[in-house]
Every structure is written in structure tokens, then in C-alpha cells.
């Protein structure tokens, strides 16, 4: 016998539980993401991409340009932000968390909407 009936029963239970948990996780994640996106702006009216990027550009010149350069092409101690190969979520995490000993956290200065605006601007630099 290749596998005992108990092992087969266990395998079926394991696969069903695993698939159920993964589907539930992705469904919950999708619902949460939609919820977050619907709350990005007051009144549930998200800014259009151009307006958001323009707002982000203002923040960029206030807080980022002096290290990353006016054209975001890098400074003496900071890398270029042109053509970043990371996701928007990752960019937001970097802005919010900072990089230890390299870049400060901007979580207190910029809220999630402001950070989203900066990310929108950085994406226009691709």
C-alpha cells in the first residue's frame, strides 16, 4: 500500500483547510484593500492621478529634493529616485518607516494620503 487510509484522509483534510485559509486570506486582503482605497480621500472621492502627483511634487520639493536632488536623480548621499523598480506600497513603506541610519521616517510629517501623493509623483518619474 502506498499510503494508509488515515494518511489519505489527513492529506485531503490538509489540502481543503489550506485552500480554504488561502482563499479566505486573499478575499479578506482584497476587501481590506478596497476599503483602504475607498478611504484615501474625504468624501470617497479620490484625487485624479495628475492632481495627486502635483500634490506629491510639492511634498517632494519640501522634504526629498534636498537629498535626492531637484530632479530626483540623486545627491551626494542619496540615490536616484528615477525609474524605481519597487511597488507603490514598498515606496510608501520606505517613506513612512525610513531607512535605518540612512533616511528618516516621514510618518509624523506625512499621513497616508500625503504619502500616496508622493508615491504618485515618484511613479511619474518612471
Amino acid at each position: 500500500m502506498i499510503m494508509t487510509p488515515l494518511e489519505i484522509k489527513g492529506a485531503v483534510a490538509g489540502v481543503i483547510t489550506s485552500v480554504f485559509i488561502l482563499v479566505a486570506t486573499f478575499t479578506a486582503g482584497g476587501i481590506y484593500r478596497n476599503h483602504i482605497e475607498s478611504e484615501t480621500e474625504p468624501g470617497n472621492k479620490p484625487l485624479d492621478a495628475a492632481t495627486l502627483a502635483a500634490k506629491g511634487r510639492t511634498f517632494f520639493f519640501q522634504s526629498c529634493a534636498h537629498c535626492h536632488g531637484q530632479d530626483a536623480d540623486g545627491g551626494e548621499d542619496a540615490p536616484s529616485l528615477l525609474k524605481l523598480q519597487i511597488s507603490g506600497t514598498h515606496m510608501a513603506l520606505v517613506i513612512q518607516s525610513g531607512i535605518k541610519d540612512e533616511m528618516p521616517s516621514f510618518a509624523k510629517k506625512y499621513n497616508e494620503q500625503d504619502t500616496a501623493a508622493i508615491v504618485a509623483y515618484l511613479k511619474t518619474l518612471h
Binding site: 494508509t4 489550506s18 481590506y32 483602504i36
Partner: protein
């Protein structure tokens, strides 16, 4: 406000460590199955796997909260997820299987289980590696 980045950083280490420890205990118990402590090792590996599966739920929930529901992504972030989801699914499936079967494993079942435990450990290690890369590039715990 809940510091999801710090919580995720803390919680991910439990399933990583427990799964690898459980896998190691299983292999040692097979290699020294004639020794008296082999049975004890199998018990330790069982509880290690069970707690790894439970802890992985916390790691996944804190990760989803941290990324605001972004379940995939690009670059290191994408690679982190490409390994995390198979690892999570495999870990849960193996824990349930072990819970049902306990020590009543056939030779084939044991071999298959050990191979899948190694695979899950590899996935978890790779997910941890890319999670660490995210950390080094500033995407995680500062």
C-alpha cells in the same frame, strides 16, 4: 495606531524558527529512530509544526495590515509574496495532516512528509530572505 511593521517583523520569526526546528527534529528522529529520545523528538516536532502554523496566521495578518492588503507587488516585495503564499499554504496543510495522522505514518507517508517539510522550510527561508531585503531597503522595520 498599531505598529504593524514592528509586529510583522516580530511575528514572522516564530513560524520561520519553529518550522525549521520541527523539520530538523523530524530528520534527527528518523536518523536516530532506534534511540529512546527519537519519540520525544517527534513529539517536539509535532508541537513545533502546530505552533508554527498558528504563529503563521499572526504573521500573515500583520503582513496584510502592513501592506494594506497588497498581496503581491513587484521586485523584492513580489518575490517575498511568491514564496510566502506557497509556504503558508504548505505549512497549514502539513500541520493539519500531522494533526490527523500523528505518529501513524507509513514509510511512504513519512518520506513524502519529510520532502514537503523541506520544501516548506525552503519557501519560508526564501520568503524570509526577501523580507530581509525589504528591510535593508527600508521597507520594513526601521
Amino acid at each position: 495606531m498599531i505598529p504593524w511593521d514592528k509586529l510583522h517583523g516580530a511575528m514572522t520569526h516564530f513560524p520561520i524558527a519553529l518550522l525549521m526546528f520541527s523539520t530538523a527534529c523530524d530528520f534527527v528522529s528518523v536518523a536516530f529512530k532506534k534511540l529512546s529520545f527519537a519519540r520525544g523528538l517527534r513529539l517536539v516536532s509535532f508541537y513545533g509544526l502546530a505552533f508554527a502554523a498558528l504563529a503563521s496566521l499572526g504573521a500573515v495578518v500583520s503582513g496584510i495590515a502592513l501592506t494594506k492588503g497588497d498581496m503581491w507587488g513587484r521586485g523584492d516585495f513580489g518575490w517575498h509574496h511568491r514564496f510566502v503564499w506557497p509556504a503558508f499554504g504548505l505549512l497549514v496543510a502539513l500541520a493539519v495532516w500531522r494533526l490527523v495522522v500523528r505518529d501513524a505514518m507509513s514509510r511512504t507517508g513519512l518520506c513524502l512528509y519529510l520532502v514537503l517539510m523541506l520544501l516548506a522550510s525552503g519557501f519560508v527561508a526564501a520568503a524570509g530572505y526577501f523580507g530581509g531585503e525589504l528591510l535593508l531597503s527600508g521597507g520594513g522595520v526601521p
